[in-house]
Symmetry: C2
Subunit: 301 residues, 2 copies
């Protein structure tokens, strides 16, 4: 049982974490901290938090676990503000989409207290934001990646891991560098590519004609281009080295594809398309098999 959990940023990610812990009955009291009093007030009304605070000192006092779920650009200054009030038993984690930059910022901000910070990244989201979008089951069956530091004592890692498991999540462990390389490939680059395509089309003189004929394939391909421009600017810059590496590999791949097209090399095109089709099919099948296993496990409870 956690006596006091403090959440900086009571929107979708932080709010859902609070609701899930409450639903699991593993927290006595949740304190929310935010820059906007209207948001805190709404989180109180929705039962996401029990105490709204605008004082970092008060919010950090006696907390067992602190989650930083604000936009990543605020993490460094928040950790610096938290540090003077951080008691030895308190564990701090975050929910940022990039990890190497957060680890560097945390080392700088927390100094000798770095061992109390266990970086994390829940792989879950919705298109809505704010406390009204928070859901108690947002994390059920989802992955949370912890990128624990060598300084973290096992008990601190366990506190964060247990909390996410109580939210219904599956906890995975990667190094910060592995994490950033993986998400550059499967999340950050696709976002860049989708934004680039929509902007490319929107800038053409006959954009209206083009959008008129865009259909469901285009809609799904570009869904992630509906995401927050500010958030993805921050992620792109925060994960720049890994993202550039993936972008360059992709540009090389497009260059090969272009050559196949120019040379009318139908066999090579069909091979490339076929490999992709098979890889995607195998991936979807593996996901479906895992989901079936999970639901039969739940059925057996």
């Amino acid at each position: 049982m956690l006596n006091k959990v403090t959440i900086f940023g009571v929107g979708l990610i932080g709010g859902s974490f609070a609701l899930a812990l409450k639903k699991a009955g593993v927290v006595q009291s949740v304190t929310g901290v935010g820059r906007r009093s209207a948001t805190l007030q709404r989180a109180l009304e929705l039962g996401i938090i029990d105490v709204a605070s605008t004082s970092v000192a008060e919010a950090v006092q006696d907390a067992d676990l602190i989650l930083i779920a604000t936009p990543v650009a605020q993490t460094a200054s928040l950790l610096a503000a938290i540090k003077p009030h951080l008691q030895p038993h308190t564990v701090v984690t975050d929910a940022g989409s990039t990890k190497s930059d957060v680890v560097a910022a945390a080392r700088a901000a927390l100094g000798e207290k770095i061992a109390q910070f266990v970086p994390g990244h829940p792989i879950a989201g919705r298109e809505q934001n704010g406390p009204d979008a928070a859901l108690a089951d947002l994390y059920v069956g989802k992955k949370v990646v912890l990128t624990a530091l060598e300084e973290n004592p096992p008990a601190a890692i366990e506190t964060v891991k247990a909390a996410w498991q109580q939210c219904g999540a599956h906890v995975h462990h990667l190094s910060a560098q592995e994490h950033d390389a993986v998400f550059a490939a499967v999340s950050h680059l696709p976002h860049l590519l989708a934004y680039a395509l929509v902007d490319d089309i929107a800038a053409k003189p006959h954009a209206a004609l083009l959008f008129q004929y865009a259909a469901s394939g285009f809609r799904d391909f570009t869904r992630i281009a509906g995401s927050s421009a500010e958030m993805w600017r921050d992620i792109s810059l925060a994960n720049k080295p890994a993202l550039l590496q993936e972008l360059d590999a992709y540009l090389t791949q497009l260059g090969s594809l272009r050559t196949m097209l120019v040379e009318n090399d139908g066999a090579a095109l069909e091979q490339l398309f076929g490999r992709a089709q098979k890889a995607r099919h195998d991936w979807i099948s593996a996901i479906e098999a895992a989901e079936q296993n999970r639901s039969s496990e739940q059925g057996g409870d």
Copy 2:
């Protein structure tokens, strides 16, 4: 009322056309032609066709309307086989995803009978194929683009247009060149990009790790990479000039984006992402408004 409609290729596209015309009660008899007798037999069982034929002469005889819905690579040889049997009153159309190449092939194959061929492209599909995937309402509310030829008499265009409208589709008119430029941008290029990304990731030594963390954004972005490799090889080569032009514009766009990233130009990144986010939002809003108008029109019938 059409006395006899003949369909070459009784799969998803051709089969759905037949079912829709039958449901609308505007056709007396549908003849199906195919290379595989099992497929024709299945189409008979499903009530898609009334007569199965393996003779082009017999199938073409006395037809009011002929739809070619086979893979596009077969269109030229089919038109050549049809030509000697084609009576003056019969109108021929097709369902190919590219049009300039089909028009060129049709001119070569049909010669002086070219005026009887009205090229078309229904913008509809499903992930399944074959007669069992055919649906009477596949085309309801969908677009069909006709790329009529200057030789086509108005009555021939009207026959094809009326048939698609009876299927519930909205008929649009473009030149073959306009059609190919539009679909290179909003369909063919996205397919290439999705195939390229999945193959790029699948070829990496740590592909299994990457796929393990791919989530719903990746799934939607790559959905079109699950499409038939053979079909998209043919489309890519058939629409090569327009596709290369779109690919090169996109490579230029990615180059600019890369520069913004290298130079840590957060303002430029946010502008590009924000323009794309807004363009996509406006497009989705326009689609939703059109759908609402359509359903209130239907409600008023």
